[in-house]
C-alpha cells in the first residue's frame, strides 16, 4: 500500500513540477477575434437585459447611466439647496442681478436695438449669415463698417443709441467668431462660432417678422448665468406669440447650441419644425467694460491658458 501511495504521489508531483513546454501560440486570425468580441458583447447585453427584467419584476428603481454631465466636477459657483449658507447666497445673487449691466433690460426699462456688422470686407457667406440674424433678432440693423475699427464702431453705435453690437468674423468664407458687446458700458464677450448650417429654401419661406420667444437653458454656474442674461438681452422682451417662433440657446458641456424653431400644438402635443440657422458658440473670454483686448480686464479668459484651465474633461464652466 505504502509503495503504491508513494507511486501515486510521485506521479502527481511529476505532473505538477514537470517542465512546462511552451504552447505554440498561434495567432488567431483577425476575423475570428472580432467574432469573439462580438460574442462577448452579445452575452453581456443578454445578461444586462435579464437583470433589467428581474429588476423590473422585483420593483427596484431604475439605474442611472453614468455620463460626463452627472459626474461633472463640483463648481463653487453652483448653488445647492443643502448648503449651509444657501439663503444668503441666493439673496446676494438677486442683489447682484438688481445692480448689474442688464438690470435695466430685465426690469423692462428699454427696448433693445441691435447693430450687426462684419469683419472689414465680408465675403458672401458671412453677409448671408448676418442677413439671417437680422431677420431673427427684432429691431436690428446691419451695416458694413468698412475701415472703421471696432472701437470706433462701438463709439458710433453708442452715439446712435444702440444697446447691443454683434461683430461676425470669418475665415476662408466660413463664419468663425462672434463678438457681442453690451452698450454703453460692457461687458464684452467673444465666442468661437462653429458648425454654421444655413436654412434651406423651404425653411427660409417660413420666416416671418414676428418677434420670437427666447429660451436659454442649462446655464448653471455664476459665469453661465451672466452669459445667459447677456444673450437674452439681445432679443426683445415681449414676444409675439402669434408667430409661434422660438429661439433656443442650450448649453451642453460649455457649447451653446443655437436653434430656431416653429412650434405647433396638435392634440395637446407639441410639434417642432426647424427653421434654421443652426450653429454652436463656445465662450473664449468675457471682458469687463467695452472691447479693449490690450488694456482690458477680464472676468474670465481661456485664450493663452487653456491647458491651465482645462485640467479635466469633466470640468465645465457654464
Amino acid at each position: 500500500m505504502d509503495i503504491k501511495e508513494e507511486d501515486s504521489e510521485n506521479e502527481v508531483n511529476e505532473g505538477q513540477a514537470g517542465p512546462e513546454l511552451p504552447k505554440l501560440a498561434r495567432k488567431k486570425p483577425k476575423g475570428l477575434l472580432r467574432q469573439e468580441k462580438l460574442k462577448d458583447l452579445k452575452n453581456k447585453k443578454k445578461i444586462q437585459k435579464r437583470d433589467r427584467k428581474l429588476r423590473k419584476a422585483s420593483g427596484d428603481p431604475k439605474q442611472v447611466p453614468r455620463t460626463i454631465e452627472n459626474t461633472r466636477e463640483p463648481d463653487s459657483t453652483v448653488f445647492h439647496s443643502e448648503d449651509e449658507d444657501f439663503d444668503q447666497k441666493t439673496q446676494d445673487l438677486a442683489a447682484e442681478f438688481d445692480h448689474d449691466e442688464f438690470a435695466d433690460y430685465y426690469s423692462d426699462l428699454y427696448k433693445p436695438k441691435v447693430l450687426i456688422t462684419y469683419k472689414e470686407k465680408p465675403l458672401r457667406k458671412v453677409r448671408e449669415f448676418g442677413k439671417i440674424l437680422t431677420e431673427i433678432i427684432p429691431n436690428s440693423v446691419r451695416i458694413f463698417r468698412r475701415d472703421a475699427s471696432v472701437k470706433e464702431t462701438i463709439q458710433a453705435a453708442i452715439n446712435k443709441g444702440y444697446t447691443d453690437l454683434i461683430i461676425i468674423n470669418e475665415d476662408r468664407n466660413e463664419p468663425n467668431g462672434l463678438i457681442l458687446v453690451h452698450l454703453p458700458d460692457g461687458p464684452t464677450a467673444y465666442f468661437r462660432l462653429s458648425n454654421v448650417i444655413f436654412p434651406n429654401k423651404r425653411q427660409r419661406k417660413e420666416f416671418t417678422n414676428h418677434r420670437p420667444e427666447v429660451i436659454t437653458t442649462n446655464f448653471t454656474t455664476g459665469l453661465g448665468k451672466t452669459i445667459a442674461r447677456m444673450l437674452g438681452a439681445v432679443f426683445h422682451q415681449d414676444a409675439e406669440f402669434k408667430g409661434r417662433h422660438v429661439v433656443t440657446m442650450h448649453n451642453q458641456r460649455d457649447y451653446i447650441f443655437f436653434r430656431h424653431h416653429r412650434y405647433k400644438f396638435l392634440k395637446n402635443k407639441p410639434y417642432l419644425r426647424e427653421l434654421g440657422p443652426k450653429f454652436t458658440l463656445r465662450l473664449q473670454y468675457l471682458q469687463e467694460g467695452l472691447y479693449d483686448p490690450k488694456c482690458g480686464e477680464y472676468r474670465w479668459i481661456m485664450t493663452d491658458k487653456r491647458h491651465k484651465i482645462e485640467t479635466s474633461r469633466r470640468r465645465f464652466f457654464l
Binding site: 463653487s76 459657483t77 447666497k89 446676494d92 445673487l93 442683489a95 447682484e96 438688481d98 445692480h99 448689474d100 455664476g222 459665469l223 469687463e288 490690450k294 488694456c295 482690458g296 480686464e297 477680464y298 472676468r299 474670465w300 479668459i301 493663452d304 491658458k305 491651465k308 484651465i309
Partner: protein
C-alpha cells in the same frame, strides 16, 4: 478697537462686508447696503473708513455700523480715489481734477488741481504732504498738497528700437519707505522711480508678456525692493527689483479673472496674500510656498479691499 474684521470688501452692488479669518474658513458680516457701486476704500482713523462711489463720498463708522458723513463731488466724471491727509479730504476724479475739501464742512471746496486728462490712480505719500497721480497717456506726477505744484514728473517710456512711441497707462502707484515710487502699467510693465535723483526715466523695470497689470502692493516687512502685482488675466506676480532678470520671482495662480485688489496679511502666523478678483472669489495664497490656501465664492462682483491697518500707521 473697532477693527474686529480682518478685511473689508466693497461690492459693485453696494454691499459692504467685513471678513474674519477663521481656520480654513471665512466669516462674513454685512455692514452696509448702499445700493451704489463702491469703487474705493481707504482709512480714516481708528474706527472709521472712507467709502467712495461714482459721485459720492461716505464716511462709515465701523462701531455703530452707520454712515456718519456724506460728501458730493460736483464734477463731470467718476471718483477714482479718496484719501484723508491732516484735516482735508483729497479726491481724484477721472476727468483730471483733484478736489481738496475740508473735513468739517461738506459743501465748501478749498482747492482744485488739474492733473491732465484720463486720470486712473491717485495715492498719498505716507510721510510727506504730497500725492501722486497717473492715468492713460498721463505718466506719474508727484504734487505738493499745499502749493499745488508739480514736484516730479516721470518721462514717458523710451521708444523702442524702431523709434516707435510706446504706450503709457498707469494703473496703480505705491510708495516704498525710502520714498521710491513703484508704478504698474496696463501694458505689462512695473517701473521703479526715484524722485530724489535727477533721472526721470525708471531706475529699474520689470516686464510681463501678454498681460496687463491692474493692482499693486508693496510688502509690509519694510523691504524696499519687493512688490506684488495682480494682472488682468488672473495671476499674481512677485517681483524683486534687486536682480538683473525682469522675470517674476514667484507666481500665485488660481484666479480666472482680473485681480482687482490684493494685499499681504498674516494668517496662522505666516504671511499670506489676500486677493479679490472679478470672477467673484476671495483667495488666500501662502506667500512662502505659493500654494492656494483658501478660496471662497462671494457671489457679487468685488471692487475694493481694505486690510486691517497696523496700529502704528493710523
Amino acid at each position: 478697537m473697532a477693527w474686529t474684521y480682518d478685511a473689508i470688501i466693497g461690492f459693485s452692488n453696494g454691499m459692504l462686508k467685513g471678513v474674519e479669518l477663521q481656520k480654513n474658513k471665512f466669516k462674513y458680516t454685512n455692514l452696509l447696503d448702499a445700493s451704489l457701486t463702491l469703487n474705493t476704500l481707504s482709512n480714516y482713523d481708528e474706527n472709521k473708513t472712507i467709502i467712495s462711489s461714482k459721485k459720492r463720498i461716505l464716511i462709515f463708522d465701523l462701531n455703530k455700523k452707520k454712515v456718519s458723513k456724506r460728501y458730493l463731488i460736483r464734477e463731470t466724471g467718476n471718483i477714482i480715489g479718496v484719501f484723508k491727509k491732516n484735516n482735508v479730504l483729497v479726491t481724484g476724479v477721472d476727468n483730471g481734477t483733484v478736489v481738496v475739501k475740508p473735513i468739517k464742512e461738506t459743501k465748501t471746496v478749498l482747492k482744485k488741481v488739474t492733473t491732465g486728462s484720463h486720470l486712473s490712480c491717485i495715492r498719498q505719500v505716507l510721510t510727506l504732504d504730497k500725492f501722486a497721480t497717473g492715468g492713460n497717456e498721463n505718466p506719474l506726477k508727484i504734487w505738493d498738497l499745499e502749493t499745488g505744484q508739480i514736484e516730479f514728473t516721470a518721462k514717458s517710456p523710451k521708444p523702442d528700437m524702431l523709434q516707435l512711441k510706446q504706450p503709457c497707462y498707469v494703473s496703480d502707484i505705491q510708495f516704498f519707505n525710502n520714498n521710491k515710487v513703484v508704478v504698474s502699467h496696463r501694458h505689462g510693465v512695473v517701473d521703479l522711480h526715484d524722485p530724489l535723483s535727477s533721472q526721470r526715466r525708471p531706475v529699474a523695470s520689470c516686464k510681463a508678456e501678454k498681460t496687463g497689470f491692474v493692482s499693486l502692493r508693496t510688502m509690509p516687512d519694510y523691504s524696499d525692493y519687493e512688490v506684488i502685482v495682480g494682472t488682468s488675466k488672473g495671476s499674481i506676480f512677485h517681483y524683486d527689483f534687486r536682480g538683473k532678470s525682469t522675470l517674476p520671482v514667484k507666481t500665485f495662480r488660481g484666479s480666472t479673472g482680473s485681480v482687482k485688489s490684493l494685499s499681504c496679511i498674516s494668517y496662522l502666523n505666516q504671511m499670506h496674500v489676500m486677493s479679490i478678483s472679478l470672477d467673484c472669489h476671495l483667495r488666500i495664497h501662502n506667500f512662502i510656498s505659493g500654494d492656494l490656501t483658501i478660496q471662497d465664492y462671494i457671489v457679487a462682483k468685488p471692487l475694493a479691499l481694505l486690510i486691517k491697518p497696523d496700529e502704528a500707521t493710523i
